[in-house]
Symmetry: C2
DNA sequence: AATGCAAATTGACAGTGTCAATATCTGGAT
DNA sequence: ATCCAGATATTGACACTGTCAATTTGCATT
């Protein structure tokens, strides 16, 4: 069934090699030639599956987004129905993912490394926005206010995770209340509406 | 007066060359060899002033942070005394800077490219945090609440600017109210405290 | 079985960061 | 004024990288 001509399924092998390289050595470390070496093929073999490095990194980023999206939807499926609780669950997932896989999160944040025209990427970006947009709409009456809230939630969440990843946070938890710091940000953002 | 041995002041020449390259070609484009070419010296001359590329990029980032800090303090000097107005002024400066020089803002966000031990960088980071920390303390009574607010403000601001830079914003202005979108985020963050 | 096409290899080129060895200039001592 | 020591710049090299062209290999369909 596989299209495997020589290798079996080189595309998949390159992606898992890339994932490992990404986790261990950072974005810089995920290079076409290193992935090829790790998959046991020659240095130019990947060109048949990814026209250039940009395409490889885009596919890798889409894979990471898919993981994050699945974890988010799984968590939401188990969360209580109250919008506030669901929003907390959503934030928790992203924060945990960034903590567990900082380099994957960094890759997802590097828009300059992506092929913006990739249809798989476009789909993924839409899918990723869906849950948070739904929660925003649920929390706030007007469509306009909802857009603002969603924007604020996205900006604050990604901004916070990157601060955390980059070590610009003294502590991850509030020393007094013991609750994670990102809870406090959510509190502030939702203080306005009941 | 200058320490100019061969070139006059190569370090400065490399930095301005780097700034131009950064603006025109992005971070990828600011390479040791390109800076050397632009300054009219051989490819290995920069090593005397910057031990490696990381050091060059760090110095460049510090320069950008200094520009942003100066513009911020200038704006605050002209702003009205009300904390809310001062906070708006501070956000306006960062948003405008990101819009005018997206690549400089991107460089400032790339903690992975910096030499964390650089004392000039450490100083600059402290100085950059100072105004926003002061405003947070002024806006909110307890030291703890102030820390949370400052964190939220930093995260939301940088997150928003990056969304804007990377083209993940449909519009930069609210089509109805006409006010810039980041105003709405500030509204949300400050809705809790009077 | 033969042919055509997709996949993989090999080899090359230009570009990069970084190092070692060498040459050159400058400022200050004699 | 001279001369020397050390900072500064050059040259050349090495190991990488992405990308391309030419070639070979292997599969599947005719």
């Amino acid at each position: 069934m596989k299209r495997g001509h020589h290798h079996g399924d080189l595309r998949e092998a390159l992606l898992t090699a890339g994932q490992h390289l990404l986790d261990r050595e950072g974005i810089e470390g995920v290079t076409i030639r290193a992935c090829a070496r790790s998959a046991g093929v020659s240095h130019a073999a990947p060109i048949n599956h990814f026209p250039d490095r940009r395409a490889l990194l885009t596919a890798l980023a889409v894979q990471c987004m898919d993981q994050l999206d699945r974890q988010t939807r799984d968590a939401l499926a188990l969360a209580e129905p109250a919008p506030r609780a669901r929003l907390e669950a959503l934030w928790d997932v992203s924060v945990a993912y960034g903590q567990a896989y900082p380099n994957r999160y960094r890759l997802m944040g590097r828009a300059d490394l992506r092929d913006t025209e990739d249809p798989a990427l476009k789909d993924m970006l839409e899918r990723l926005l869906e849950p948070i947009a739904a929660l925003g709409a649920q929390l706030v009456p007007g469509r306009l206010a909802a857009r603002s809230l969603v924007l604020a939630l996205c900006a604050a969440l990604t901004g916070y995770v990157f601060m955390m990843i980059d070590g610009n946070l003294a502590t991850a938890h509030d020393p007094d209340s013991g609750q994670p710091l990102h809870r406090a940000i959510l509190d502030l953002l939702l203080a306005g509406q009941g």
